[in-house]
């Protein structure tokens, strides 16, 4: 347990060992503590120390926090309420000395600041609550456990963690190169949050997988279409570029007045989209530009009618709006609506029966899916 806590604290601290490219200054902090405890100015200074020399350069941050330290018997409890737009989280840490708790608060905010700027995805309540920062989460758990019994042992544990976190953070600010080695050893390689800030360009590009995508649209074929798709692409800061493909359910259509005569449509489509995201509360709203190619194989149906099942394709251009609801650091639920205009409107004609259907001038669609940030 002690080893785990110590490792986590060191890991957290090493996160900041190579973070000079990110400036602080955007975290709004309100602080309240007994006079013998660290005051707001000290916590802010620790935060600047952790994030680098350019802390006074206000890098945009939507993080806000209210921290308070209060005595609990002979011990001290830190309650840190953290807000990210409309997303809230609370961390509670207890320690024998309130000196350590100021460092815990600074480390916590520094981690979240880093996370906010290392990925285009918004922070979640899960992040704010501490699940992604294991050392502090453990510390919070320890604090909770402290109230249920075995007070001494847990209090000592949280004290140790707080000390380690603080010391680790301080050390990382002084000796980034040395701690980077430690980071490589302790942080998971596939964690986007563990990436080295000195390689900031690399961290801004993320591979994006969009699967599955449930789609429906009207206007392309005579009946509403229902499809299953997947896509892949890249995200760069607020920009997302995806190429996706959709397999649509085949549909039968009879236009009348000749009952029993119609067409069978099979359809696939490909879409190239470019979107730019804007953070709105806990969501990301993304206007998108779309280029869609529909490929349809149509077969005339009816007594005496034969068909070679010819294919035809057409290009549509359009726009859409997508909303991404983060399900964590690496997943998001996507809901989108789009409209597009066909640059070509093929007529599907069956000999004798006449025109069965024609591609509509415009189509509107809805997509619901999951997006994975890899």
């Amino acid at each position: 347990m002690t080893l785990r806590l110590a490792s986590a604290a060191v890991g957290l601290a090493t996160l900041f060992s190579a973070a000079p490219s990110f400036a602080q200054g955007g975290v709004q902090l309100r602080w309240q503590a007994p006079l013998n405890c660290p005051q707001e100015a000290q916590v802010r200074q620790k935060l600047r120390d952790l994030l680098g020399t350019s802390a006074s350069d206000a890098s945009a941050s939507r993080l806000r926090a209210e921290g308070s330290i209060e005595p609990v018997g002979e011990r001290f409890r830190l309650t840190l309420n953290i807000h990210y737009d409309l997303v809230n989280g609370t961390r509670v840490v207890q320690a024998a000395s309130c000196e350590d708790l100021g460092g815990v608060a600074a480390v916590t905010l520094a981690i979240l600041f880093r996370a906010e700027h290392s990925s285009g995805a918004p922070l979640t309540a899960h992040d704010l609550g501490g699940a992604s920062t294991s050392a502090l989460a453990d510390a919070r758990t320890a604090g909770t456990e402290n109230q249920t019994g075995d007070a001494n042992s847990h209090a000592e544990g949280s004290e140790t963690r707080a000390e380690n976190a603080q010391k680790g953070a301080q050390n990382s600010a002084q000796n980034g190169a040395q701690k980077k080695t430690t980071t490589d050893e302790l942080e998971p390689k596939d964690s986007p949050h563990a990436s080295d800030a000195s390689d900031s360009n690399a961290t801004r590009w993320h591979f994006v997988l969009s699967a599955p995508e449930l789609r429906t649209d009207i206007g392309a074929l005579p009946n509403a279409g229902y499809g299953l798709g997947f896509g892949a692409g890249a995200r760069h800061d607020a920009w997302r570029f995806l190429i996706s493909g959709t397999f649509w359910l085949a549909q039968e259509y009879q236009p009348g007045p000749f009952v029993g005569y119609g067409a069978h449509f099979g359809r696939m489509s490909g879409e190239l989209s470019g979107c730019h995201g804007f953070q709105v509360a806990g969501f990301e709203l993304s206007p998108c530009l779309l280029f869609t190619v529909d490929d349809v194989a149509a077969r005339g149906t009816g007594t005496g009618i034969s068909s070679s099942n010819p294919r035809t394709a057409w290009l549509s251009v359009g726009a859409g709006l997508q909303g991404l609801w983060s399900l964590g650091r690496q997943a998001a639920l996507v809901f989108g609506v789009n409209g597009r205009v066909a640059t070509s409107r093929p007529r599907f004609v069956s000999e004798g029966v006449g025109e069965i259907s024609q591609v509509g001038p415009a189509a509107v669609g809805v997509v619901l899916g999951c997006e994975w940030l890899l």
Binding site: P257, G260, T303, R347, E351, G352
Partner: protein, 276 residues
Amino acid sequence: MPAGVVHHRALAMASAAFATACLALACEPTVVIGTCSQANAAGAGGEAGATASSNDGSVGVPWSTGFENGMCDYFSQGGYCYARHDATMEIVRSPVHSGQFAAAFTVNGNATNMTEDRSQARCVRQGKMPESAYYGAWYFVPELHTSDTNWNLFHFLGGVSETDSHPLWDISLANDSDGALVLSVLNFIKNTHPPISGVPPIPIGSWFHIEIFLKRSATANGEVTVLQDGVTALHQINLVTDDTDWGQWYVGNYARKLVPALSTIYVDDITIREGQ
């Protein structure tokens, strides 16, 4: 400005121009997704149309269709089928007179007195009609209706083209004094209803055969004979029967006022055969 930039801009402009032009010109390519399958006809119980092809626009004789090939026996000979004003046409497996299929023509006899909105579903052969020929079809009327006398089964029309033509002969259904349905013939040229005699009312719920022999003549040398189930119901000679060189023969269901309004008539084994 670098050449590459110019090249990309030109490409983008060309693409945009193409897309815009496409939209402006309303690109509407025709994709033929179905064709009439004559091979199917041959394999459909031998009931499909035996066709005497003609390249001069005349109606080939003999000709027949049992709808085993759907509507294709009409389309392959320059004819067509249509349905409008709440009417539909369907190829059905029951009832059939022979083979596997027949045609069901459904109309909604609730029209006003406007000619344009009369419900009708029919198939048409057209072209230079034979000098003399028998035109026949098997009909199945499943229920009794009350008609305003314009419930048409056969319609002959002549002229130069479809848009420059006039009616010649009708065979329709009308209610007799007992309410039963009997054949009714209308000679448009003389605007008379020559009397039908010697045949009973048509059967309800079973197949019956209607055939008309027309010896076309623009002078008083023509001849017309109407037969119901092979029994002569009308025979007239030495009269003007067709004062045109081009004509159409409509078979199906056409109604103005019916009670009940919805009527489905089944038709099978339509023939044109040579006359004497």
